[in-house]
Amino acid sequence: MPGTDVLDELDLVVEDIGRGGGGKPPERDEHRGGGGDDGSFRPRRPSPSQSGQRRYQTAILLGMVSICMFFMALSAAFLVRKTGKDWVNFRLPSIIWVNTIVLLTSSLTIDLARRRLALNDLVGFKMMWRATTALGVAFVVGQVVAWRDLVHMGFYVGSNPSSSFFYVFTAAHAAHLIGGILALFYVLFRDFRKIARLSLPVAAEVTSYYWHFMDGLWLFLVALLFFGA
């Protein structure tokens, strides 16, 4: 991080004065993890901004804002339409709660995967990453099951505004989530040594941002459908 450079240097200067400018790195630095910042004693890892990779982080943040807007527009329509006379409430299919837990777990595993990667444990990373992908696929399958439950209950896309909103919300979320699953596969199978501009840690980081965002978005949508109806 360019912003912390100055603080690090200040830190260094103070310690240099205290120890009389000894050549040995300060003690406490050795207890830090592998990803820690050792001041300027060792050559610095190139930060994402220096190697041109910051654009991926910026892009995913802006993209999230845009996707958020899409769902906010649908939610606004939901809240307005709910007051109509033809609105019929229905109980959410119970598999929705299972799906929610599956998605929450996948957020946990993707975070564990990134921790493994930070410790340079590639095998552990791949395992957790695969688990995340599997959980993501399971979530989508679960959503299809939820749709089938609704059909059995007699709620079709067009039967009622409330069921229309349910189908559109879940379908739009699933479409965005499938994009996330494709990104998970990309990180899993792509050989990042062949790409000059994108490294595995940045790709994993960006994908995990998006994945957590999909998770949060789903929690919001479930809350909206559950409490709003």
Partner: protein, 540 residues
């Protein structure tokens, strides 16, 4: 075949930018033809070209969507922006070249869809049109993402935010605005398509399909008014400073005003689209916001006039079109104040006053800014400046034509709002005369574009001229020869360092953004710095 394939996969920002411009040019002519057909239909009713009112309504939609989506939204932002944004900030490419390419092909696909929709029956056509609009919006949102990331992360060394040219600021702010607006539009499209195809009831069904078509059009275009005009503000500010040979007056104020325009627009539209009719205060809030757009607009006007004040103007065709933009924006904006009042007699969508206002501000003013940009950047894009003589004939004919066209249209609207004594019909000779005048002016304006086509064709046939590398002596990066993206490129100052030539004792009255500071000679001893400050209000 190989040529075809390579043209499909091209992702160079200059190639894609030019393609957007060609697409816009073709659409402009299609749109003008449809407007001529509509004028003829209005003057001599009967089944000439359009058989039924339904067909006339869908013709309106084709005219509107081609002009608004492809010309006004695409050309200033995606066209000129894709071409010049990277070079103006010293980058070699857009942040995501493949995304640039995807955005263009989505746009091209949607244009085909919008035109094809006209030939279907209204019910099917509406769905085809909506699907095309959805595709367009996705393309525009992706493009906006690309723009914003490029402007944030790909700036050259030393290109701090205050040093960015106003054009880049406008493109950037517009990109952020587009990210919000186009995703909302996609949501609306999804709901509408579901209503049409899957028998859902997201929207409460209304009257006849004609009204539905018109309402849809206004819903979409209201959001895009400022998406279309924001980059034009940027272009005009840039050109005014360059041809006045003075720094932009109140540089920071202009940037803040541009941001305020974006904010107000989004707010206005959101209020209107989702809250109007829900509670009695909504129209009032809407009206207040629409009026508050006048504040940033006034700041921009003050900056333009202050930059022009006491300047040695160079009246090139590009500058004339930029000044034409200001003129049209002022006269069109005044009627906007009238329309923004909440109590204004319920002006229906087909009203001639609304029509005149909308066309003057949005359509014609933006077109003037685009033509200004084209005349300005043509030497950069094609290696040869357009003919100034033909350009000036083109400008004056067009300028007179559009005023003759749209001012009578305002009068028609006002006449229709007059309280008439019983038994007096509005279809008197005055109204007919005005209608005739409008149609006549339409023909003049369209004919004047022939001069423009001739100008472009003749210039393109000439060979590139090496002397024309910086004919306007502009200071921004796109005119300087730099190795884009190279480590050697460092920006040392803002894009509007113009000053009287005496300061440096030479013939140059500007400093390119990347000229090293050592190039600046000390001012001659007789020179009094207080008399002509280098950059009185700019902060760079």
């Amino acid at each position: 075949m190989r040529l075809f394939r390579s043209s499909l996969v091209a992702s160079d920002h200059k190639v894609i930018g030019l393609r957007y411009l060609w697409l816009a040019l073709v659409s402009v002519f299609l749109g003008m033809i449809t407007s001529l057909v509509m004028r003829i239909q209005l003057l001599w009713p009967g089944p000439h070209f359009v058989a039924s009112p339904d067909a006339y309504a869908s013709l309106t939609l084709v005219h509107g969507s081609l002009m608004v989506f492809v010309v006004l939204t695409c050309a200033p932002q995606a066209g000129f922006g894709t071409y010049f944004l990277p070079t103006q900030i010293g980058a070699s490419e857009m942040a995501f070249p493949k995304l640039t390419r995807l955005g263009f092909w989505l746009t091209a696909l949607s244009v085909i869809g919008m035109v094809v929709a006209f030939f279907y029956r209204p019910e099917t056509g509406l769905i085809v049109w909506l699907a095309s609009v959805a595709v367009f919006c996705v393309g525009a949102a992706l493009n906006a993402l690309n723009f914003a990331v490029t402007a944030i992360d790909l700036r050259a060394k030393g290109m701090t935010l205050p040093r960015m040219p106003i054009t880049v600021w406008a493109w950037f702010i517009n990109a952020v605005l587009s990210l919000l607006i186009f995703s909302t539009l996609v949501a609306a499209c999804v709901q509408l398509i579901c209503d049409g195809e899957a028998a859902t009831h997201f929207f409460v069904p209304t009257a006849s399909p004609i009204v539905a078509w018109q309402r849809l059009f206004w819903f979409f275009t209201q959001a895009q008014v400022y998406v279309a005009i924001l980059p034009c503000f940027g272009i005009v500010t840039h050109l005014v400073a360059t041809f006045a040979r003075k720094p932009v007056f109140a540089h920071r104020g202009v940037v803040l005003a541009l941001s305020a325009v974006g904010l107000c627009d989004f707010w206005t539209w959101g209020e209107h689209a989702f809250a109007a009719g829900l509670n009695p205060y909504a129209p009032l809030v809407f009206s207040m916001l629409a009026l508050s757009l006048g504040i940033p607009a006034s700041i921009l006007l003050i900056s333009w006039f202050a930059t022009l004040w006491d300047a040695k103007l160079r009246f090139s065709t590009a500058m004339l079109f930029a000044l034409g933009f200001i003129s049209l924006f002022v006269s069109g904006g005044l009627t906007g104040l009238l329309l923004a009042r909440a109590k204004f007699p319920d002006s229906t969508v087909g009203d001639a006053l609304v029509n005149g206002h909308y066309h003057l501000v949005m359509g014609i003013a933006s077109t003037f800014a685009m033509l200004a940009a084209l005349f300005f950047w043509f030497p950069k894009m094609f290696g040869h400046a357009l003919s100034e003589r033909l350009g000036k004939i083109h400008f004056w004919l067009t300028f007179a034509g559009v005023y003759l066209l749209f001012i009578p249209m305002h009068w028609l609207g006002l006449i229709s709002h007059l309280p008439l004594p019983a038994g007096v019909s509005t279809a008197n000779s005055l109204v007919l005369g005005l209608q005739l005048c409008i149609t006549f002016a339409t023909v003049i304006t369209i004919a004047a574009q022939g001069v423009f086509v001739l100008n472009v064709a003749v210039t393109l046939l000439r060979r590139a001229d090496a002397r024309d590398t910086n004919p306007w002596r502009a200071a921004s990066l796109e005119w300087t020869d730099f190795a884009a993206g190279s480590a050697g490129l460092t920006v040392h100052r803002g894009a509007y360092e113009f000053f009287p030539a005496e300061i440096r004792g030479g013939s140059d009255d500007f400093l390119p953004q990347n000229a090293p500071p050592t190039d600046i000679l000390p001012p001659p001893p007789a020179f009094n710095p207080g008399a002509a400050p280098l950059n009185p209000l700019g902060s760079t």
